[in-house]
């Protein structure tokens, strides 16, 4: 009997390999991300001083939209091939499946963010006036906050009508404290005005609380389908 960790790893590498072979989702997501950045640049004039102040918010809203599009097809492959039924009867702990999916989404969204961020920097002439290294924990913790709940709610939405709209509908209200933390932390770091430590700690708390909740309740969700 393999350990839960090895199952997680196996599922994760399988997903990444499948994704890499088709590259369809990845390419269309990359293009979508580029479009989002450009639309935002048209809508919120990058030259205005105000735009630089809200750049932190703009980036995260853009990431949020990209993440939702990525999350929506989290379980699509499993649904198509009745993999979920197999998982229900297998002795593998449901957590492993969830963790693999969440980590896969995490990697995917981080890649998108790495593409979108330089574009934002270019279009908005962003300069980091605060401690730039702090953007890394903000980025990692913030992305995980969106992805962990997003993967969970994607599973909850599986058997609902209008599945694609159900996911953001469930995700956005719950994510409000996380989004506020990400945006404030980014704004503070970019402007070099104040200390982002509180927001980073709040993000960490949010991540711990909801990762625990998702791991604890995913089994219930899986068997409820």
């Amino acid at each position: 009997m393999s350990s839960p960790w090895s199952i997680t790893l196996a599922t994760l590498t399988k997903d990444i390999r499948l994704e890499w072979r088709s590259k369809d989702a990845l390419n269309s997501m990359l293009f979508f991300s580029l479009l989002v950045v450009i639309i935002f640049s048209f809508s919120f004039d990058p030259n205005a001083e105000e735009s630089r102040e809200i750049a932190g918010g703009l980036i995260w809203v853009a990431f949020l939209f990209a993440a939702v599009v990525a999350l929506n097809q989290t379980w699509a492959r499993e649904l198509r091939n009745q993999v979920l039924d197999a998982y229900r009867v297998s002795p593998a702990p449901p957590n492993s499946l969830f963790l693999a999916k969440a980590l896969g989404n995490f990697v995917f969204v981080i890649i998108l963010e790495c593409v979108m961020t330089p574009l934002f920097v270019v279009f908005y002439n962003l300069r980091v006036l605060g401690p730039a290294w702090q953007l890394i924990p903000v980025g990692l913790l913030g992305t995980w906050a969106l992805v962990v709940n997003g993967t969970f709610f994607a599973a909850v939405s599986l058997r609902t009508r209008s599945r694609e709209i159900m996911l953001p509908l469930l995700l956005f209200p719950i994510s409000i404290p996380a989004v506020q933390s990400m945006v404030e932390a980014t704004r503070i770091i970019l402007a070099g005005d104040g200390n982002a430590r509180f927001w980073i700690v709040l993000l960490l708390t949010y991540d711990v609380v909801f990762t625990t909740a998702s791991l604890a309740l995913f089994g219930t969700i899986l068997h409820a389908e």
């Binding site: 159900m166 404290p177 609380v209 909801f210 219930t220």
Partner: protein, 227 residues
């Protein structure tokens, strides 16, 4: 039980009318805000009732998750729906109060924003219940209620800190409190609590009837409709 409901409903109606009288006639006019402050007698009791109902939903959801009791699930549906109604009233009366007193319709203050997020979470709960076709919808909804409950303290805390950094006017508070005002407030608090409980009970009975009818219909189609 069936006799009890009309009696309690009548009692609640009397309390509400008495509360209205207290709020509009007996309570003195507030010094700084004027008569508009009387909205307070409806705004805060509605908020209290909404939070109690949402808490009821949380408890009912937990009971359902552990014991799969269908009565608990019916109560969860009822308390969520009625809670959203009362919460809507809080979000409507808040800005109506804020506009003449502070000159703004909305401010991201702690209580109002937390109420808004609670409203959003429970509206999404109701949408999930409506859109989910699975027989396991109650389980999914119960899990959502738990996630919502975990979220609320985080919401409150994050907005609280945000506001210490960016202070703005506070809606729904302040003003002097004369003992007659306290009396009027407590009467309305009691009246709205009873009213909330009554409507929730009515909705609960409606839900149970709905399920009875569904079961009866399913049974009939299973056995074949008699000619």
């Amino acid at each position: 039980m069936k006799r009890l409901f009309p009696i309690l409903a009548l009692l609640t109606a009397v309390l509400l009318i008495y509360g209205l009288y207290q709020a509009l006639v007996v309570a003195p006019t507030e010094r700084t805000m004027g008569d508009v402050q009387r909205i307070f007698y409806y705004h805060v009791p509605s908020a209290w009732t909404a939070f109690c109902l949402f808490f009821t939903n949380l408890l009912a959801s937990l009971v359902y998750l552990v014991w799969k009791n269908s009565k608990a699930d019916a109560l969860a549906v009822a308390s969520a729906e009625v809670g959203v109604i009362f919460c809507t009233i809080v979000l409507v009366t808040g800005p109506i109060w804020a506009r003449p007193v502070w000159g703004i319709w909305w401010t991201w203050d702690v209580r109002l924003t937390t109420t808004l997020v609670l409203w959003l979470i429970y509206v999404s709960y109701l949408v999930l219940r409506r859109f989910s076709d699975s027989a396991q919808t109650p389980v999914l909804a119960a899990v959502l209620a738990i996630f919502g409950a975990l979220d609320v303290p985080l919401v409150y805390f994050s907005i609280w800190f945000f506001r210490t950094q960016h202070p703005q006017p506070v809606i729904g508070g302040g003003g002097s409190l004369d003992p007659r005002m306290l009396h009027a407030f407590l009467i309305n608090l009691l009246a709205f609590s009873c009213f909330g409980a009554m409507v929730c009970w009515a909705r609960y009975r409606l839900e149970r009837l709905h399920r009875e009818v569904e079961e009866a219909q399913a049974l009939e189609s299973l056995l074949g409709a008699p000619q």
